[in-house]
Subunit: 205 residues, 2 copies
DNA sequence: GTCATCATGTAAGCCGTTACATGATTGC
DNA sequence: GCAATCATGTAACGGCTTACATGATGAC
């Protein structure tokens, strides 16, 4: 989950931990919510696995801006004038490696999509190919259809004596249906190969 | 969370752990999802706290049916012919105590309502009074309004280059608005004092 | 000179899960 | 007799949070 978020963000820009968190929050809003206490260990874990690589910098250098340049190229130049392994202003700027890119695709495609994981995956959908996207969307829709069924069974089985539970389940049913319809639209768009996915209002079928 | 679920269910019927889980699933559908590995420890915890009390029974006795009779009354009679403290058919039938009822109300009113807690609370809304219900509903609505704001900020801040993130955030906005409207209806109903939402009030007859 | 912010980490704890262990009862 | 289900529990681990520790930098 958190590794997916990290890799997804680092695929676009090289950042250090502190920035990463802000970036995540800015880009994904309330959908992401990592704390430093899990972010830094996760970064170290990923570094040990070779999925990201860090460069300890001395100056404010290459951070906020989405870089196009290669890290291993010029950055190696001033890697020499790093101060010590610890302490701030020795920011550890992380970049994704090839291993990391493979891991990202793996994380996107493989694991079971529970409630909260799917949103995160969707946020990084651009990093996997259309067949995988379609497969994920359809699996998600199937899961929601199942959930809908179960909620309806539960609704039917009730003696209807509690209006709050009733209201809760009815709203859950409606929300789930709305989600399913939304997924249906995404699937249709994906199938149509319409690359202007962003178009919401008018436009093409 | 799990304690709330347990106490909420036990307030209506005396059950043993195994039944409790099934009951929970049947009544709340996909909204509840406890595993035995957390259920039994939680029950023991609650028993230690005096929030529930267990009677180890020998026969199939008072389980599935929602009982109206008092546990401490007749049940004490055949408490004597229990076999041993362990092993099935020595089911531990749990009932809520006064301490437990107070704890239930406390759990309903007090804690911060994160995403997933609120649904559970709402499911047991009948066990708290109207002012508390209103307060909870309004707090929840306020939280969702904040979330809505943040999502919209994030939406506005984007350079609009990723259609998937865009779709995700737009859908999140719509879902949140729908939730807010739903809460609005619940609040209105609550304010109107519409008691087709079942008479609960303070004391039991 | 002190306060807010930037920056990186560790430690403890919470709340749940899966997997395992154990055994009784029921149905065939 | 054997499998499925009922019934209760323990152990290990997972993934996250909060709180703590540390220190540099910049603004005033």
């Amino acid at each position: 989950m958190i590794e997916l978020a990290i890799l997804g963000i680092l695929k676009e820009a090289q950042l250090h931990g502190y920035e990463l968190k802000k970036h995540l929050r800015k880009v994904l809003g309330p959908l992401s919510n990592v704390s430093f206490g899990s972010l830094y260990p996760a970064l170290n874990r990923l570094e040990r696995q070779g999925a990201v690589s860090a460069v300890v910098t001395d100056d404010a250098g290459p951070s906020t801006m989405p870089m196009t340049g290669s890290l291993t190229g010029e950055a190696a130049a001033f890697r020499s004038r790093l101060r010590s392994t610890r302490g701030p202003r020795n920011k550890k700027v992380y970049g994704i490696t090839e291993v990391g890119e493979r891991r990202l695709v793996e994380l996107l495609s493989d694991p079971a999509d529970d409630e909260r994981t799917f949103g995160m995956k969707l946020a990084f959908f651009r990093w996997c190919d259309r067949p995988t996207r379609l497969w994920l969307l359809e699996r998600r829709r199937a899961a929601l259809l199942e959930r809908l069924e179960e909620t309806r069974r539960a609704l039917a089985a009730r003696e209807g004596d509690d209006p709050y539970v009733q209201a809760l389940m009815e709203h859950d049913t409606e929300s789930t249906m709305s989600d399913i319809a939304w997924l249906g639209r995404l699937i249709a768009r994906e199938r149509a190969g319409d690359d202007r996915t962003r178009e919401t209002t008018g436009g093409r079928p």
